[in-house]
């Protein structure tokens, strides 16, 4: 049976196509303002990649902050449920899931069967999200990837005073004027956001194995900072930004 999961987030959308429980194809695209149409376009593109047509698909489940705008979904599930399911499929030993995307950050306590036991969300504020990291990278005039690599070469611990992404940008500019090395600023940015995410994770309780997903999980600088902040090991699966779509597809396949 062909099952599809689609995760439409604040900035990006991801699609996973499962056939008989195995991943047949995956697709991702940046979303503009017309999310409904763009999500549909991504869906069709990914189907083409898999050599499939819409009629071949058994069930589609959507998730994400804009999941409700997916007109072709059979149902919409909450992000936390999709994340929990997706991670559990790959890493059944996961007990805490930390998902940091472009516009939201959440911590989820998961059961051994991949059910959501508790969750806490940082939303509507860029300070605890990937957007914060991007804004600072822009202020440093480098890409996020470069910033991640740079931060790993620093061993300074400069605290950032600003919590807000807007004020943080001014703070980064003034740190540059003070001739602070770029790698130290990069590390400061990651430390700042790691602190916020860790505190949200502590609300649901940090129990190993702790798994990190979402676009920001690809940022090695952030992952390193978070590991040090929670003083625990962090597992980052391959394609961490696809976990929501994977969980949704898994649910679709199970006919839930």
């Amino acid at each position: 049976m062909i099952a599809v999961g689609i995760d439409v987030g604040g900035k990006n959308a991801h699609v996973i196509i499962l056939k008989g429980g195995e991943i047949l194809a995956k697709g991702e695209a940046a979303m503009g303002i017309h999310k409904a149409e763009e999500a549909e376009h991504l869906y069709d593109e990914t189907l083409k990649k898999a050599g499939m047509k819409r009629e071949d698909v058994g069930s589609v489940i959507a998730t994400g902050s804009a999941g409700k705008r997916v007109s072709f979904a059979d149902s919409v599930i909450p992000d936390a449920a999709a994340d929990a399911r997706g991670v559990n499929r790959l890493i059944p030993s996961a007990r805490t899931v930390i998902d940091v995307g472009a516009e939201e950050g959440r911590a989820i306590k998961v059961s051994p069967k991949g059910r959501v036991l508790d969750f806490a969300v940082n939303e509507k504020c860029a300070a605890g999200t990937g957007t914060f990291v991007e804004t600072m990278a822009r202020a440093l005039e480098i890409t996020v990837e470069e910033m991640a690599k740079l931060s790993l070469t620093s061993n300074q611990s400069i605290p950032m005073n600003a919590q807000c992404a807007v004020f943080g940008e001014s703070e980064v500019v003034s740190l540059i004027h003070q001739k602070i090395a770029k790698q130290d600023i990069a590390k400061a940015v990651h430390d700042a956001i790691a602190g916020r995410i860790a505190s949200v994770a502590r609300v649901v309780g940090l129990e190993q194995d702790v798994v990190m997903i979402g676009g920001v999980a690809k940022n090695d600088g952030f992952v390193d900072a978070l590991k040090k902040e929670i003083d625990m090991d962090l597992i980052v699966p391959e394609d961490p930004e696809y976990m929501g779509a994977l969980g949704s597809a898994d649910m679709a396949a199970a006919g839930v």
């Binding site: 303002i33 509507k124 804004t135 807000c164 992404a165 807007v166 004020f167 001014s170």
Partner: protein, 308 residues
């Protein structure tokens, strides 16, 4: 002479005014207050608790430097020097460094005291929005702080939030207020509180062909609403006073007054003998600081540092 000095002051952001009716040499206690804000700094001199002179200047990158400039500008057209001052108190944004001050007092307390002096004992709520913060203060008839709320963490609801918007649509800040009323009907406000997310929302609206003035109206309405939420939590009572840069943005002020159902107090001096003196809402903090200095010296709580 006084008329010219008034006009001069209002026309340019950097300026000074001296009270022609006071001979400071006949005064007993001379105190000063210096307020270093994130965008502008003020210096005020009082003689026996009466307004003697004040000056305003732009804050530079160096806090002690800006403090010096602010005090100097308040003194430059007088023959008072730092050595004649009995006591000086500094105030302002964050951990200010006012080197010539004998102590610093939080801007919350200074603002309340200053607004009380300027607007009178009927003032109960003061809302001040600066470049990087927003504060709401409730005070009693003596100008003492009853409760306060301050937001200097989130850009939404600060001058910076408005600046980011102005930069985005490429319209000068002072045009936004009036233009936000040149619309057919009041639109819905921007839904994202976060300035960073609001930017994408604004771009989306513009892309959809929404007229610029309408987008300005949406943004001003959103900002008024954020301030409203902060004030609502605290509880607004009349007389209600708005100070800081945002007081000059009628797009936000008028919408706030509408949502509150309360009009802001008229910008006139409470003391009748001051009626011809220039009234600048931005000096409230420095006035309050200088008043505290006066209270402390006259009550013998601190020793005067006056040299000559």
């Amino acid at each position: 002479m006084v008329e010219e000095a008034k006009k001069e002051f209002w026309r340019w952001p950097e300026g000074t005014w001296v009270n022609p009716h006071i001979n400071w040499k006949q005064g007993k206690i001379i105190t000063s207050g210096v307020d270093v804000g994130s965008v502008s700094s003020q210096g005020v001199v009082l003689v026996d608790g009466e307004l003697y002179s004040f000056g305003s200047t732009r804050t530079g990158f160096d806090s002690p430097d800006s403090a010096r400039k602010a005090l100097n500008i308040a003194l430059e057209q007088t023959d008072v020097t730092e050595e004649n001052l009995d006591y000086c108190i500094g105030t302002g944004y964050g951990r200010v460094n006012v080197p010539m001050a004998q102590r610093t007092i939080t801007e919350i307390a200074c603002h309340a005291r200053g607004a009380h002096f300027m607007y009178g004992p009927a003032v109960r709520t003061i809302m001040d929005m600066g470049g990087q913060d927003c504060k709401a203060i409730n005070c009693d008839e003596k100008g003492k702080v009853l409760n306060f709320m301050m937001n200097d963490k989130c850009a939404a609801g600060t001058g910076r939030g408005m600046e980011v918007f102005a930069d985005l649509i490429q319209v000068p800040v002072w045009e936004i207020g009036p233009r936000s009323f040149q619309i057919d009907e009041e639109p819905e406000m921007i839904s994202s509180t976060c300035v960073v997310f609001a930017k994408s929302e604004v771009l989306g609206l513009l892309e959809q062909g929404v007229p610029e003035n309408q987008v300005m109206a949406s943004y001003c309405a959103a900002m008024a609403h954020r301030i409203m939420a902060l004030l609502h939590r605290l509880g607004v009572q009349e007389k209600f006073v708005i100070t800081g840069g945002i007081a000059k943005n009628e797009g936000v002020v008028k919408r706030l007054e509408k949502e509150l159902g309360i009009k802001t107090a008229e910008k006139v001096w409470y003391k009748p003998e001051y009626k011809d003196y220039p009234f600048d809402t931005q000096i409230a903090g420095a006035v309050g600081a200088a008043l505290f200095a006066h209270a402390m010296v006259s009550k013998g709580k601190v020793k005067s540092v006056r040299k000559t």
